[in-house]
Amino acid sequence: MIDYSSKFIRAALFTMIMLFIGFFVLFMLTCSMIVSLLMLILPAALVLLGIILVHVPFFKAHPWMILPVDVVIAVITAVIIHFV
């Protein structure tokens, strides 16, 4: 699946964690409570969704398809939060 011992993957994960922290601090300081709370609730919900989806036959066969599903949910959430 993912080779977590790969140096490149580790560096990429580190980059993503730094971005996550940056967005969290940014939204916490400038946006409403719900936007910053979603930075915590959304990944938790997506992890749960991922665990459920890996038991669905289609995603069992194509686990990488979980990523686009998560991304689409995240984009839709961002757009709804912004316009609502």
């Binding site: 580790r10 993503m16 967005f23 992890v47 961002a78």
Partner: protein
Amino acid sequence: MEDMSFGKKLLFSLVTALTAVIVYGITLCILVKEFHTILLVLLIAAVVLGAFLLVLLIALDSKSKKIKAGVIAGLSVLGVLIIFSSVIMVIAPMMLFPKNHDEDAYDEMVELAAAKDNTVEQISCGDLTGWRICARNLREDDKRPVILFFAGNGMNSSRTAELFMFDEPELYAPLCSDYDFVYFDYPGYGTSAGEPTGDSLRQMALDVFDEVDSWSTTSSIICFGYSIGTGPATYCASQKDADGLVLWAPYANSYDVYNNVMDVFHGPMKLLVLYKMNSEKYIKDVECPILIMASDTDEVIPYESSRALFASAGGSSDFMTISGIGHNDFWVNDKVIESTAEFAGEVS
């Protein structure tokens, strides 16, 4: 996937969720125009940190696990500090100076000024523009004291002039019946050009004072600051020959303003505060009478900071505690407005 342990499935879900939440953050930043700069800064900082880690991992390939773990932990702490500092340095000026302009109020005031009936006049000083609300009880050529106003960060001159002229003329009458009320927009605000920074605000304060002083009708000048404007007002009174200084909800120094939002700007963290305004220092050089008003329930400027400023003021200074009002309530409080007008009457 079937062969994967639960732990690996969880880790995989975590990585996809992390990717998705970053997309959430990027999408929100793209949708909000003001966040474009910070998005770019964050992306660059995170990618540089990631690349640095990759280089370190390659360089430490032959070293023990302990050394690698130590390096990653060190870089993580450094990374969090860099990311945090980047966010603060980019967004703080943006939050501090939202560069307000009210187009409708501006158009309304332009129309009123065009009537030339000695009620309001559009004024300029270099690249700065603003409004002069003329003393209602005086004729055009009469000499009069001028209240030179330095506003809060959420205000703009057109909207304030509209409030004085149309929305609440009775409430604000004490401030503009026998005095001219002069309000130049900060650089970047209203139709004023430039960027609002500590230096530009200090320079502006001196320039507009000289401009007002050069008017043939000016008999005396009272510097009046509210909130963030108390810094430039105090600086102006310390450098120029003002006749009085009125401060509503003042701060001793800009670190207090930042610390009230997030109490971390101490020691070396003070370097992250780009808006430097040391009113505590300036007020020591103010020779004119001073009136400071502060609320013990102010949610923006700590009351203790206003008290600290008063403690630094020498000579003829007075402190008035207005109990139980919020930061924005100064503008709707009769006692505050009348006390300010009384003080202006005494010193002019």
